[in-house]
Amino acid sequence: MIRFRGVSKRYPNGVTALRDVSLSIEPGEFVFVIGATGSGKSTLLKLIYRAEVPTQGQVIVGGRDITRLPRRHVPALRRSMGIVFQDYKLLPHKTAYENVAFALHVTGAAPHEIRPRALRALGVVGLEERADAYPHQLSGGEQQRVSIARALVHQPPLLLADEPTGNLDPRTSWEIIQLLSRINLHGTTVVVTTHNKTIVDILRKRVVELAGGTVVRDEDYGLYTPRAAVDVPHLVGGRRG
């Protein structure tokens, strides 16, 4: 699904965000990308949806090297995935329904399909009744759910979430993560960057840890801090690897 081959990213201002990162994410996986602020998590995602281009190395998404993808093909790439952001990035003057329908519009869906599909996506995130609310009338959790509905509505094989719970309280965060996890169970590859230790530790998914732009840890059923793994494994059924 996604493959990084010796990827480095150096921003024009001299900051090196990623250093020789190699990484492979298979279809159907659920991956947490963790690390301190500035460790390169966001850059990693940006390289996947081609908001940035690596200075070195290759990024392969869905079998295609997107490093040299011409600009006019970027929209098509983005339509093959759903992206969820910490700040939701909803269009403020559109209702929840319109925000979701908009993403379908963009993909060129047939007009008669848009309404049922958008409503169904809102149903998936449990917001059917709030379809006509504007973003400012929704809570943070609800807004994030709308943005997840938008990311899902065109049924992409890949879902990227950049700190989706960064602005949410623990309870709402948990709901959002459960939602993402449910989506993953239906076959969608999900990549989530996060700071949320609790969530990572409870879910025990694959964890990729970045520090200073390099991958310092990549383990299945991982925990937020590897040290904790010393105590916990025998309680939850042993470590895997």
Binding site: P27, R78, L91, H93, H105, H112, G123, Q155, G187, D218
Partner: protein
């Protein structure tokens, strides 16, 4: 013990191996449908024929564009108002420049058309003498046509030029005008030699030709024409810059929207179209308003000028205005659109 693994190395056969999820957009079990009771395509209304779908898509796209533009107009009313006003003022400026330029061209044309030689005849020529004179004039090289203008005709013409404000009969009792020959030349350059030759003909008392005046006038109108074009060009450029900046402001106010559109995967034209539509609507509005000002203003101006300066050859409103409006409309449209496109370019880099 923490499980450490060499960076980037993943064991084979781990995880949930690709639940055979096709990469295609609509294939297989849709992920976004966990709530749907059955994985079978639940909502798929009887598929309309492909042509109808395509047509519906086009209609939907147009409707989307128009709706977005209308919405934007309502939402940033003040911004749109500023844009319309700016374009309006610019168009008025350009319009005035064009009116000036067109009238100067017209003046030049009128003066050019009047180039010729007039020979005033001695009084008391007999008709045979007169006919001989006309025939002689016709034979001169460089002469295109010769028309005999009797003194009565000349008087009537003068009266017509003066209009009905002054009745010549009240001013002079007898006709002071002589008979004359109006000699048209083949080329402007021929005026001087023809005039010399005509002067030597018997029965000609005096020769008048606009030669020098015409030369000078043509030189002046040449300059004036160039200035007129330059002015129009400059104003067009100014309009472009002003409109571009105005559009850029409206776009800046909606940068976030553009960013989101792009993140969702909207193509360049999909993002551009609402903005272009908005620019077009603003441009059209400004064009209408400009027409609403220029048409009555010029009509009144010409009317007044005809009264006060009857000899000034102004273009009639019916001759000038359609062309002027067409120029302003296309110009405004082209400039507005290119302004929008240029302003958008910066935001569509990624």
């Amino acid at each position: 013990m923490a499980e450490r693994r060499p960076v980037g190395v993943r064991p084979a056969g781990r995880g949930i191996p690709a639940r055979a999820r096709p990469v295609g957009r609509r294939g297989g079990t849709p992920a976004a449908r966990p709530a749907a009771p059955s994985p079978a395509p639940a909502v798929r209304p009887a598929a309309p024929p492909p042509v109808a779908v395509a047509a519906a898509r086009v209609r939907a796209a147009v409707a989307y564009t128009v709706r977005e533009a209308a919405l934007a107009f309502r939402r940033n009313g003040l911004m749109s108002l500023a844009a319309v006003t700016t374009i309006l003022v610019t168009l008025l400026l350009v319009g005035c420049g064009l009116i000036l330029s067109a009238n100067l061209h017209h003046l030049a044309r009128v003066v050019e058309g009047q180039v010729g030689v007039v020979a005033y005849l001695r009084e008391g020529l007999t008709p045979p003498e007169r006919d001989r004179l006309v025939a002689a004039a016709r034979r001169l090289p460089g002469v295109r046509a010769v028309t005999f203008v009797g003194r009565d005709v000349a008087l009537r013409r003068l009266q017509a030029t003066l209009g009905d404000r002054v009745a010549l009969r009240d001013v002079v009792q007898t006709n002071p005008l002589p008979d004359s020959l109006e000699i048209a030349v083949t080329e402007g350059r021929q005026v001087r030699p023809v005039a010399e030759a005509v002067r030597r003909l018997r029965g000609v008392e005096e020769v008048a030709f606009g030669g020098e005046v015409v030369d000078r006038l043509l030189a002046v109108t040449g300059v004036v024409r160039a200035v007129g074009w330059g002015l129009a060009l400059l104003l067009g450029l100014v309009a472009l810059v002003i409109i571009m900046n105005t559009v850029r402001l409206t776009i800046l106010a909606r940068r976030q929207e553009i960013e989101i559109m792009q993140l969702v995967g909207a193509g360049g034209w999909y993002v551009r179209s609402p903005f272009l539509m908005e620019g077009a609507v603003e441009g059209a509005l400004a064009i209408l308003l400009a027409a609403g000002v220029l048409v009555p203003a010029y009509t009144v101006l010409v009317e007044r000028a005809r009264g006060a300066l009857p000899f000034l050859p102004l273009l009639g409103p019916a001759d000038l205005l359609p062309g002027l409006l067409a120029t302003i409309a296309t110009g405004g449209f082209v400039v507005g659109m290119s302004g929008s496109l240029l302003a958008l370019r910066r935001f569509l880099q990624t």
